[in-house]
């Protein structure tokens, strides 16, 4: 069997990710095999015969090996499980039907019983910008382009505090300006969603750790708290603002 340049490595061995390790091991096996079969040396192979001998079908087979072993891929873009539901884990909490019972359940979300004003702590987030007063509105999840498309035609319901797990700026691009507030379960204050909400003057918590907030709940964001500086992430410093649910005890 042919030996590859990277087969001898004094300091490196395995990848951190099992999926990356599985794919790269399979590709290296394939390269050894095709190099042997080609009957040529590396110099002719690397930018010559390998372009014909290492094919797109080979790469599809590399992925299929993992699927055949029972693996289902995590998804990040909604289009991925929609096109290949057999290859990806189920995308729960995206349809209107699912959202009747769905909620984010972050294991590290701080919670407390309702206070005298009926506010129950349901989590915290990194405040993007400080505002004079807290904001209260109706929690509505935005986790699919279907919902964005619907609200793009019908308008965003009044008083919506969008609960999101996409720290990007594109999923909600055409309707973002209509949100009263945003609670995002990912990213940092410097993520694109953080940048855009700050420019629009919309209260926003990034990296939110929340639990037990359901579609239609009344929630209050403590956006009067101090904004989290970007350098705190590198310094490992925490500075959060609270998210309360009203009225459910």
């Amino acid at each position: 069997m042919a030996k590859l340049y990277v087969d001898v490595d004094k300091y490196g061995d395995e990848h951190a990710s099992p999926v990356v390790e599985a794919f790269h091991s399979a590709i290296r096996d394939l390269v050894r095999k095709r190099l042997d079969e080609s009957g040529c040396g590396w110099s002719e192979f690397v930018f010559g015969k390998s372009h014909e001998l290492i094919t797109q079908d080979d790469m599809a087979a590399v992925e299929q090996q993992l699927l055949d072993a029972g693996h289902k891929f995590d998804w990040s873009a909604a289009i991925s499980p929609r096109e290949r539901p057999d290859a990806y884990k189920a995308s729960a909490g995206t349809s209107d039907e699912d959202l009747k019972t769905f909620c984010f359940e972050h294991p590290d979300a701080p919670t407390a019983e309702a206070d005298g004003d009926g506010r129950a702590l349901r989590g915290v987030g990194d405040n993007v910008a400080k505002y004079p007063q807290n904001v209260t509105g109706t929690a509505r999840y935005v986790r699919s382009s279907d919902r964005v498309l619907k609200w793009l035609s019908d308008g965003v319901p009044d008083n919506t505090i969008a609960v999101i797990d996409d720290s990007g700026g594109t999923l909600t691009a055409p309707i973002l300006e209509q949100f009263k507030g945003v609670i995002c379960a990912g990213g940092t204050v410097r993520s694109h969603l953080g940048i855009l909400t700050r420019e629009y003057g919309i209260p926003c918590f990034m990296n939110a750790k929340v639990t037990g907030i359901y579609e239609g709940d009344t929630v209050e964001m403590e956006c009067s708290a101090a904004a989290k500086p970007a350098e705190f992430y590198q310094q490992g410093k925490e500075q959060t603002a609270n998210v309360w649910r009203h009225g459910k005890g």
Binding site: L4, Y5, V6, D7, Y11, G12, H15, A16, S17, V20, F23, H24, I27, R28, V31, W42, S43, V46, F47, S50, H51, T55, Q56, D58, M59, A60, E63, W75, S76, A77, A78, I79, S80, E83, Y88, A129, S144, V148, L149, L152, D165, D166, S167, G168, G169, T170, L171, A173, P174, E177, G186, T188, R190, S191, H192, L196, R198, E199, G201, Q234
Partner: protein, 520 residues
């Protein structure tokens, strides 16, 4: 321009650039953002783009330099706001190419010495471009300047400074500018498939003891090289817009090679105290004012542009929402790969097949790039630095992390003795796309052109700033010759469109600009 030849000195320099680019790439990726999207498969399309860069950049850069050198394009870039700014040039050109190389090494498909001629050339092209573009601040990239980018000459800064309209929270211009900036940022993220590649901020420039000026560019807003803007971008009248901003009581301590900023205290809307608006491209004589004849006209222009941009955002979003995953992959990969396409537009050698297609050699790997592999592999390459070849001697301490790692594998020096390397990936080969073919319309400052018209005009165009050896009249020359007719002529080229400085010449200093502003 002769390509660099393999030698010990050349390898030392090339490997130095690999190391410094890797150090900065790590810092940017770890500290500046978290990239994700529910709409686009972002890490997956990034991986596809990196491979496309690896296979195609060497051939395309050589094609550009047959017409115009990297350093001449860099010289021209000091006088316009087009996409070959940051993040494209300070980060994208080198790092996208090198990440493609690193992926192929990890997969066993490349040895670190293979494509050595290509690596030397790509890094050398980058160095020459950057040194020319950064000529006024004298650095190779913003990282080297402690994260600052001061590209513009005094004569341009004086025009930007003088023609700013004052504004403050609550007035109509301030509100209109603020709304425009938010809408434009959002549109730029969408055009660029969730990336920052259509936005660039440079500076800061000191206006007075209490104020700094930053210059923010927005690229590819109208019908341009990107096929997904055909139709939807038609109502946006300018392809590139540059906004000049004066900011009170706020110091921009980071202006990085991604073109993004950090300020202390934080830059919020209430700090904005002056604003201006310009357009430019590779066919314009520098920056052309937009709506700058009066305060009222500028306010109205911001309102109208924000409206155009919001309409275009909604239309583009609906188009994208209907795409297949392969189309999203293509658009994202092309956005990254073609971030340097304006090099070809400046030189007048742009070809749609060169820049809007995925090379078949890169496309072979597309089936690997599902969401999980994309996320994990990108995370390993630029965040964890955990690919096996990125691990180095246990005594080593990487910049910013102190871990025994490095982002990019150097070219081994033993090839000088053995000659055992394959120099190049070769020419650009056939490409594919799942997107509709680009329609033959390009919105420029010379009107809407076909590509052949655009290329012809670009190839023939020599901006006044480069005519008559003006390019060699640098800031040091000005310092010692400002009282000469030649210096006056130089300044008047930049003052041609200025509301307050037209024909004022070279004798003014910063304090004079403030006096002129106060007399308006």
């Amino acid at each position: 321009m002769a390509k660099p030849q393999l030698s010990y000195a050349q390898l030392l320099e090339t490997n130095n650039m690999l190391q410094t680019n890797g150090d900065e790439c790590y810092w940017l990726c770890v500290t500046r953002t978290v990239q994700e999207s529910k709409l686009f498969p972002v890490p997956s399309y990034m991986l596809l783009s990196y491979l496309n860069c690896f296979y195609r950049y060497p051939g395309l850069l050589a094609k550009i330099e047959e017409k115009m050198s990297a350093e001449e394009i860099g010289d021209r870039m000091r006088n316009m706001g087009v996409k070959i700014a940051n993040p494209s040039m300070g980060w994208g050109l080198t790092n996208f190419y090198l990440l493609g190389r690193e992926w192929l090494i990890a997969a066993g498909l490349l040895r670190p010495q293979d494509a050595a001629d290509d690596v030397m050339y790509v890094m050398d092209f980058w160095k020459r471009y950057q040194l020319a573009w950064h000529r006024n601040d004298g650095h190779l990239f913003n990282k080297e300047f402690d994260h600052r980018g001061q590209f513009l000459p005094e004569r341009q800064l004086q025009v930007f400074h003088a023609d700013l309209y004052d504004c403050q929270t609550g007035d109509e211009l301030h509100e209109a500018a603020h709304q425009f900036l938010a809408a434009a940022s959002q549109y730029c993220f969408l055009i660029a498939c969730e990336s920052r590649l259509c936005l660039h901020t440079q500076g800061p420039y000191k206006i007075d003891d209490q104020r700094e000026m930053i210059v923010r560019d927005h690229f590819d807003l109208s019908e341009c090289s990107l096929p997904w803007l055909d139709g939807v971008g038609a109502e946006v009248p300018y392809n590139n817009l540059t906004v000049t901003m004066a900011v009170d009581d706020c110091h921009f301590h980071i202006c990085d090679d991604w073109g993004s900023t950090e300020a202390e205290p934080e830059f919020k809307a209430d700090k904005l105290s002056g604003i201006g608006l310009y357009t430019s491209d590779m066919l314009s004589e520098g920056y052309i004012p937009v709506g700058m004849n009066s305060r009222e006209e500028l306010t109205q222009t911001f309102h109208e542009l924000a409206g155009n941009i919001k309409d275009a955002t909604a239309k583009l979003w609906q188009r994208i929402a209907g795409w297949s995953r392969d189309q999203m992959m293509d658009a994202g990969a092309i956005t990254y790969y073609a971030c340097i396409k304006d090099l070809a537009h400046v030189a007048g050698v742009y070809d749609v097949d060169d820049w809007m297609k995925i090379d078949h050699r890169a496309d072979r790997f597309r089936p690997l790039f599902n969401d999980e592999y994309g996320r994990d592999c990108l995370g390993e390459m630029v965040g964890l630095i955990s690919l096996p070849q990125q691990q180095i001697s246990d005594y080593s301490m990487m910049m910013h992390s102190n871990a025994p790692k490095r982002v990019y594998t150097p070219i081994p020096y033993d090839i000088l003795k053995t000659g055992d390397y394959v120099p190049s990936v070769g020419d650009v080969e056939r490409g594919i796309t799942y997107l509709p073919e680009k329609e033959d319309r390009y919105n420029t400052t010379q009107g809407t052109l076909t590509l052949s018209e655009f290329n012809r005009k670009a190839a023939d165009f020599v901006p006044e700033t480069l005519q008559n050896d003006r390019n060699l009249l640098c800031e040091t020359w000005v310092k010692f010759h400002y009282d000469s007719p030649q210096a006056d002529d130089l300044y008047k080229v930049h003052q041609k469109h200025s509301r307050l400085l037209k024909d004022r010449g070279a004798g003014l200093r910063r304090a004079d600009i403030e006096k002129i502003r106060s007399q308006e």
